[in-house]
């Protein structure tokens, strides 16, 4: 195939040596045999590029060369045909990651990620700073959490990383939908939280609030929080109380406040708004209002 293509595109190169040799004035593709080929952009029309992409995988030269495993997953997501699906042994989940632009070499990131798991995990790159890690559900006693992974990568790679962790899936059915919904959700959830590791469970309230049209969202904030809408100190107290699972002692400790003062502040909020934040339903409403305000 390469020879046939070379007859059409005389500039065609086959990548065989160091990664640094890849020329950015070329369009690069990966063949079915995992060879990387490049064609001078001047020799290509946009129609050519689209045509080539139907049987070759476009390749970003700044990203690691996809492994067979990664190509398999990519095919399963991108192809509507059932033949693209393959058999999976264990449940799997997608973990979205994003890093600040131009702060890291994706190849270095991939090397570090692989060292954190018992075997190399497929990474599907969206671009040079975000993508999906595919993690199989396995029971290794020395596995580590994504909170820990975030810290270890931050100290080794000097980058702040966000992780959004999807649910486990047992089959490849609806994999494309899972993939796209996860990416869409990931791009929204970090608006509502300062946490850098968020699971799909944490994200549900954020996504619900995000669905509401802006006018109603603003109205929920104002209606529920009433005169406290701009009282940052009280709102911070309430937010911490919710984060501490409505535990007065824990909240007082975190805020370094006497528990009687905290109690007084919550009582005042009840008197002025009629909302008893110590009751689950009221707490949930206030939580949604706080999110709506963000």
């Amino acid at each position: 195939m390469i020879n046939q293509l070379r007859k059409i595109y005389s500039s065609l190169l086959v990548y065989s040596e160091g990664h640094d040799n890849l020329d950015s004035t070329y369009k690069w593709f990966v063949t079915g045999e995992n060879e990387i080929i490049g064609i001078d952009e001047e020799e290509l029309t946009s129609k050519d590029v689209s045509l080539l992409a139907t049987f070759l995988l476009p390749y970003n030269i700044n990203l690691p060369v996809p492994t067979d495993e990664e190509r398999k997953w990519r095919n399963a997501i991108d192809s509507a045909e059932s033949s693209a699906k393959f058999e999976i042994k264990n449940s799997y989940r997608f973990i979205y990651f994003s890093i600040k632009k131009n702060q890291i070499d994706p190849i270095v990131f991939k090397d570090a990620i692989h060292e954190l798991f018992a075997k190399p995990v497929p990474i599907l790159w969206g671009n040079g700073h975000e993508g999906i890690i595919i993690e199989e559900q396995t029971v290794y006693e020395d596995s580590i959490s994504f909170e820990e992974i975030k810290d270890i990568l931050m100290s080794d790679l000097y980058v702040k990383i966000n992780f959004y962790i999807g649910s486990y899936k047992e089959s490849l059915e609806d994999i494309a939908q899972y993939y796209h919904l996860l990416i869409n959700a990931a791009k929204k959830v970090f608006i509502y939280t300062n946490k850098t590791v968020v699971t799909y469970i944490d994200a549900v309230p954020y996504l619900l609030i995000n669905q509401i049209e802006p006018g109603l969202r603003s109205d929920i904030g104002k209606t529920v929080l009433q005169k406290y809408i701009n009282d940052e100190e009280t709102l911070k107290t309430i937010e911490t109380f919710l984060q501490c699972n409505l535990n007065i002692s824990e909240t007082a400790k975190v805020l370094h406040m006497h528990r009687n003062s905290l109690q007084y502040r919550l009582d005042r909020f009840f008197e002025k708004t009629g909302i008893d934040i110590r009751q689950f339903h009221h707490a949930m409403t206030v939580y949604l209002a706080l999110l709506a305000k963000k």
Binding site: Q103, D142, S155, Y158, V254
Partner: protein, 365 residues
């Protein structure tokens, strides 16, 4: 080694949420500076701005005299240790320490030299071939420190590195980090919410609240001369007692309870016009006494206290009581046995007490 200079540093998140407000500080070369404060005070954000993990919204940051606001984190010559002292689970200790250098394309010989040196400093020489799961919690934490040491960086940044450890190990690691700092003399910025950690480790500490610096000073200075009610209450355990009352000529008065104010303190209170006004008395638990000799010499700072709870801590007893319906805590010598339900005489050492303005909550001096 390097000094750091933060000039009017600000951090504003989306929608005008200001996390750090006008933070200015010079951190001296070789100093062990601790940022301490309650959750949400801006201490971690400040550290992350120094690291370059958070963008600086306003102000200037200098490391070693060079402005680094726009320098990527990897080029700031810093090493970081975080709360989760996680290690690569499938690598041995040697490779865990070496990996960061390998990623930065250091030569093998140099990596070996640095890892061996860090292992020697931390007493990890015999553990280099062990995997993390075969290490104790303390050993793992030492490896995490080793991963920072091998960087040979100008500045260490530590963000609550001990908060995931149990109480016993925390005390042990506190000492290890201090020893390490004495040996390496690397400028260190250390973030904690734990005032004991701050007091025991810092060369200087910075107490923060709501994005503002409340006080900067040596631990003893901050403990003995707190700038305001917040600092007085935050630093020290049990916390400083705060009693509301009125200042009358020579006396601090809480309804029918009158406590004599020493002339030295009365003089500046009088000069600043506090006589006849509501003020706050701040007194540390150890400055409330039950020893007969002290009681004899302090008849006019003595009160009758009904003890609600008495906690025997070994060498001392923590007494919880009320005066004029206001809670207070005293720390007294366990030689004099006191039990809950008893009424005892206690005397306040007003020479060591502080007075705070009722409105501004600033210490009157």
């Amino acid at each position: 080694m390097a000094d750091l200079k933060l000039v009017n540093i600000r951090k504003v998140y989306d929608k005008d949420v200001v996390s750090v407000k006008d933070f200015s500080l010079e951190i001296r070369d070789k100093e062990f500076l601790v940022l301490v404060g309650p959750s949400g005070c801006g201490k971690s954000t400040t550290l992350r701005m120094i690291a370059g993990l958070e963008e600086i919204s306003g102000g200037d940051l200098f490391i070693g005299g060079k402005r680094v606001n726009d320098v990527p984190p990897k080029d700031r010559d810093i090493a970081m240790v975080f709360q989760n002292y996680a290690l690569y689970p499938h690598m041995d200790v040697y490779n865990n320490m070496a990996f960061g250098l390998k990623l930065r394309k250091f030569k093998k010989d140099e990596i070996k030299k640095r890892v061996d040196n860090a292992a020697k400093i931390l007493g990890l020489e015999d553990l280099l071939t062990r995997k993390p799961k075969a290490l104790s919690g303390g050993q793992r934490q030492r490896v995490a420190l080793g991963r920072a040491i091998v960087r040979d960086a100008e500045v260490f940044l530590m963000d609550e590195p001990l908060s995931n450890l149990d109480a016993k190990l925390r005390v042990q690691m506190r000492a290890e980090i201090q020893k390490l700092h004495r040996r390496l003399q690397t400028t260190t910025v250390y973030v904690t919410h734990d005032q004991t950690e701050a007091m025991t480790m810092a060369t200087r500490l910075v107490v923060m609240k709501d994005g503002y610096i409340q006080q900067v000073g040596a631990p003893k200075e901050v403990y003995d001369e707190p700038n305001n009610v917040f600092v007085g209450g935050f630093i020290g355990s049990p916390a400083m007692n705060f009693l509301n009352g009125r200042l009358e000529e020579n006396y601090f008065v809480m309804d029918d309870v009158k406590i004599l104010v020493p002339e030295g303190k009365m003089k500046y209170l009088r000069e600043q016009g506090y006589v006849g006004k509501e003020i706050i008395l701040g007194v540390r638990p150890e400055d409330i006494h039950d020893e007969p000799l002290f009681l004899d010499f302090s008849p006019e700072t003595k009160i009758k206290a009904s003890i609600e709870v008495a906690e025997l801590m070994g060498a001392e007893i923590i007494l919880y009581s009320k005066v004029n319906d206001q809670d207070f805590v005293a720390r007294v010598d366990a030689r004099f046995s006191v039990a809950a339900g008893e009424t005892v005489d206690l005397a306040f050492d007003l020479n060591k007490a502080h007075f705070f303005d009722k409105e501004s909550e600033l210490r009157i001096k």
